[in-house]
Symmetry: none
Subunit: 225 residues, 4 copies
């Protein structure tokens, strides 16, 4: 770094390379820590997860862990922020279409895919919510206005009679509940609840079922059936 200005390209700079490598190492370790933390926090929550377990899962000693993080709480909060940031992107209605069915279809699909791919992060969020959501308020803000936006669009469609008249805020919440469910509840648990073990829960199948469920609920009979 100190030398990067001196010889930018002529000298295949030693220390810069080394630092680069070190940075990569560090990033890799940080990634390990984050994923270990996601696993542990998602299973046990902030209080219940131990830095011990997180360290072990990341192949570090407990004291090594503190070389990379400043505190358990800080680590937790940063993960929480990750979900919220991810969602700030997903929680958006596609502006490229005006058709309610299309917009909702895309929205639900995205939300579910995220749930399938990162169920653990999602669960950290839910756990936080169960605990009262004290930490959420700090990092919310942006998502809030996004929700307001969507509510208005839904209300617009209702006024144009494009979808069934209903409480738009609750509609949004229902979609949220349906999709979030597939992150929070493990395949195994879902199987238990429906009472039939070891089913082939095909993701595409779920996506289409949820989508049709919502569209029908909005008074948009699906053409696929």
């Amino acid at each position: 770094m100190k030398f990067s200005a001196a010889s930018p390209s002529s000298n295949p700079n030693h220390s810069a390379t080394r630092q680069n490598r070190a940075q990569k190492e560090r990033d890799a370790i940080m990634a390990d820590i984050r994923s270990a933390a996601i696993a542990e926090f998602s299973l046990h929550g902030l209080k219940g997860a131990s830095t011990q377990s997180i360290a072990k899962r990341a192949n570090l000693k407990q004291s090594q862990l503190y070389y990379y993080i400043s505190s358990k709480e800080a680590l937790y909060e940063s993960l929480l922020q990750s979900v919220l940031q991810d969602w700030a992107v997903l929680f958006v209605f596609d502006a490229s279409s005006d058709d309610p069915a299309t917009v909702l279809r895309t929205y639900i699909r995205r939300k579910l895919l995220y749930a399938f791919q990162k169920p653990e992060l999602s669960r950290i969020f839910t756990r936080e919510v169960l605990g009262g959501g004290a930490l959420l308020e700090k990092h919310w803000t942006e998502a809030s206005s996004s929700a307001q936006h969507k509510v208005e669009q839904l209300e617009g469609w209702m006024n144009e009679c494009l979808i069934r008249m209903m409480d738009a805020r609750l509609l949004l919440m229902h979609i949220w509940a349906l999709t979030q469910h597939y992150a929070d509840f493990d395949i195994q648990v879902r199987a238990m609840i429906t009472g039939i073990g070891g089913l082939p829960y095909d993701e595409d199948h779920i996506i289409s079922e949820v989508t049709n469920f919502v569209l029908n609920a909005c008074g948009l009979p699906d053409l696929s059936a």
Copy 2:
């Protein structure tokens, strides 16, 4: 002790009465403990909740607590069983009617009322699920067959074309997700998510919105609208 003033000598049946009263006292204390435990476990989970806080919330000393419970885990498990038992009753389709709309309406109403009245117990269940549900398997069984039952009834309705054709197991799950949501997510958090603070979330309003949502999703247009 508390009773020494009541009937010191009138009743000759000493031991029986005293035992009776002791039993009542004991039950009252157990109830305190359970409700304290529900509060703490619902907020912090099994690992996160401390016997200390539970005892304090129940107006007991920590050592007194152990006269009534055998361990923190046992207490936790017994609460978990409570929810499951409660649900074994609620998770039943009313046999007195054959009309899908009526049956679903009742079912949803019951489930939501339970969510509104005992959100904390519900949350303990969700927390357990988030943790992988290891303990659930032990106490499931009965609920499982009940679910199977309902799935069959739903499929019957579909075959008779009384409700839209769809994956009955997922339908059941969607209803579950929608209703459970209102137990797990506090009013305050729901407000945050929809982005509008301090709304008057009328319970009847929610019940009717959820019901209409599901009925429409099942292809049963509501007549109330």
Copy 3:
């Protein structure tokens, strides 16, 4: 306790006695802890002293210690307050006399006796001062007004030409420095400083020397010489 109203004296009450004994036990243990803490804090300061050592010195396990105290800092602060309270009493000019020599003589004697008897407590104070005295401000207040009082009395004497004219605040401070010295510096260290080991530092001798030193400094030639 619950029964103390019922039979105040007829019944040699069991639980009351037991509680009394328990209280004594507890007081004895607290005294052990305090004296252990005084020793450790006086040697190593707040940061440097470990709860481990304090516990060991008080014949307790580390976790037992926390049954009696709420935190290391709280224990430390309570000791600090002790000194200040003690001093609030000592740091007072005897009102029963108007003679400067007598008043100063008594004052110095008291201060030195305290230094000889509780040097460790005194040292905790000095250590705190060395660290900047952040905690002192919280518990000061009363001593402050007492100092102001004394300053005024000294100035009164000066105006009446009973003692030499000088900066009264500094005079007070000098007395303070001289007396405090005998608490802070161990006999052994004092010997080192004056360069002669193992002297018979007779307390009465010191008291009279310090007193004469101050009286002479105030322009009050001692009659004893």
Copy 4:
């Protein structure tokens, strides 16, 4: 590195120059470390101060620090020795005069100036003394004989009736206590003690007051008054 721009090739005497410079650099860093250590040790003591804070205050990494010191204790001891060496010089009666007043005046002035200029070093000494002074014995020796010397001179004056008759060793100690006080006790703390906040504690004023105090105590009425 920092010097690579200075004289890259002009001077043929490469290694010698570089070594010279390196030495200077090293000395500069050592000075930084020492002053950082003085600050930290003076605030928190040996146990309480962390190599971390020392390194940071010296603008070094913690591991870099160990190129210059062998251990925290060694660093501490070397500082302690510094004070003692400084004092071996100051703790000396000026031989150019025979007049007690002049000698004492000079002595007190020097001691106080040192206290005002290097209060932190002084405090490290006091802290060590409070802890029992174990480390002091190792590095004492020379100061000891110097004290003995002074005691004899004081006793000489007493025998010649040039100053009041008193315990010479204690007289020396009193002077020491008075002067040391102004190093150990911060202006802020002194203000607290006298009960009047934010006063202009003029150094010259203090020097003259302390001097007069001692001279009067020795039976040498000051002429300045």
